[in-house]
């Protein structure tokens, strides 16, 4: 938690990026980056989904609510989706999500969609490094807290004037 306290752009801020990588392409590419010992910033937490089409915009909003500063989606190149058109849906959803998020105060750079094929380990390295730096420059995403209800007033305690 403490690494989030730095002012915008301060070197002590470590962005937290949640990545949703499709099983067939991008996740495989990330594995390749690993076995190739390619070095990249450790700021990304990867969630494997079977297809980028599984990405529900709620995942991004939920990630932001839980403390993410950026969300990255990785899928197969158009035409190469293991399930034919899932990645096409992902693109459409992503664009509308980014539009909506921007109007809600989330900068565009905090949401990124990339087509990364299974052989593109180096692209995984580059994209993660780039996005980490971009989000670092933007600073932490500060959401308003969701108000919690006051505790239910105890049964024993009379509220207001007693009869």
């Amino acid at each position: 938690m403490s690494d989030h306290s730095g002012p915008q752009g301060h070197a002590s801020f470590e962005p937290r990026i949640v990545a949703f990588f499709c099983n067939w392409c991008t996740y495989t590419a990330a594995d390749l980056a690993g076995t190739s010992r390619l070095r990249y910033p450790p700021n990304v937490r990867v969630v494997r989904i079977m297809c980028s089409g599984r990405f529900d915009p709620q995942f991004a909003l939920s990630a932001f609510r839980d403390g993410a500063d950026g969300v990255l989606i990785g899928g197969c190149h158009p035409g190469d989706c293991h399930y034919q058109e899932g990645n096409h849906k992902a693109l459409r959803r992503f664009i509308l999500l980014r539009m909506l998020a921007k109007q809600l105060g989330i900068e565009e750079e905090r949401l990124r969609l990339e087509w990364i094929a299974a052989s593109e380990g180096e692209k995984v390295q580059r994209v993660i490094a780039e996005m980490t730096e971009q989000v670092r420059r933007l600073g932490p995403l500060r959401l308003a807290p969701i108000p919690a209800p006051v505790e239910r007033v105890g049964q024993l305690q009379e509220v207001g004037r007693a009869r």
Binding site: P57, I146, P149
Partner: protein
């Protein structure tokens, strides 16, 4: 038509102890009740002022069962869209800068004002709009703008028969509106939107799925139970009953559903098509911004 007359048979069997909009009750009538003396309380309206919060807390203490009634108390409602703006900007616009404001002495509401007779008070205006459940513990939810009479009747009957479900439930069907839509069978096998129309721009065919006609109907994302009232009036659903139980953020799910239907493959086409949606927050969070995951616009 929405005849509420059949409510009268139910209403005959209850005793109102507080109903300020319809009967002459005062706040002290509530204060004088014992805790838990009210069997069931319906509260409508979102919470933005200290007065609303105080009434909510008071009624919560005095009631056995508290039901959030209407989209405002359940989800934040249309007033919840105020969460797109900072508090100061709202006051500034409405009392000073608005184009129809005439306020030469720049008088803005104050919580305490001295007048010759003494000091008068106004409730404080909170930083954001909250749902009822974000203010006090709520037992049941009956959304809708307004809640469909049939659902209210069902809720009252459940209360009188001691038949309420588990606490925390929404007292409406847990399935999307498309399921009960009279136009369901007209939905094409492959539904694709190639342009968005607003209701005033076309003469909508009264028998065909509205989404198929390019109207932004949120039926697929919205809880049913209203008998598809708006659609039956040839208007697209705007989402007033909020999400079903499997959805956490209505706007996010709406984005997912609507974007999936776009008849566009590359970024350029998609952006152009989406340009027809004039107000994404107002469209996808019309009733539910306070209840959403973001709760309000991020103001840095």
């Amino acid at each position: 038509m929405d005849l509420a007359e059949d409510l009268l048979s139910v209403v005959d069997r209850v005793d109102f102890v507080f109903f300020p909009v319809a009967m002459d009750f005062k706040k002290e009538d509530v204060e004088n009740l014992g805790n838990g003396e009210i069997d069931v309380c319906f509260i409508n309206g979102a919470i933005r002022t200290s007065e609303e919060e105080e009434m909510a807390r008071l009624l919560r203490a005095k009631s056995q069962i508290l039901i959030a009634y209407g989209s405002c108390s359940c989800l934040g409602g249309i007033p919840g869209l105020a969460n797109l703006f900072p508090r100061e900007e709202i006051l500034q616009f409405n009392y000073l800068d608005g184009p129809s404001v005439v306020n030469p002495d720049a008088i803005v509401p104050k919580e305490e004002t001295k007048v010759p007779e003494g000091e008068v008070e106004l409730p404080s205006f909170h930083d954001d709009v909250k749902t009822l459940a974000q203010t006090v513990e709520v037992d049941y939810f009956l959304p809708g703008c307004p809640p469909p009479v049939i659902l209210l009747k069902g809720a009252l009957e459940a209360i009188l028969e001691g038949n309420l479900p588990e606490k925390g439930q929404v007292l409406a069907p847990d399935i999307a509106l498309c399921d009960e839509c009279p136009r369901k069978t007209s939905k094409p096998e492959r539904l694709r939107i190639d342009s968005f129309r607003r209701p005033h721009e076309i003469l909508a065919d009264p028998e065909t799925c509205l989404l198929a006609q390019g109207l932004l109907c949120l039926g697929p994302v919205t809880r049913g139970g209203c008998g598809a009232a708006c659609v039956s009036g040839n208007m697209p659903c705007t989402g007033c009953l909020g999400p079903v139980s499997r959805v956490r953020d209505y706007g996010g799910k709406a984005v997912s559903a609507i974007a999936s239907l776009l008849d566009a493959e590359n970024e350029e086409e998609i952006v152009r098509l989406l340009g027809d949606i004039v107000d994404p927050p107002g469209t996808f969070y019309r009733y539910g911004l306070p209840a959403s995951l973001l709760h309000k616009r991020i103001l840095q």
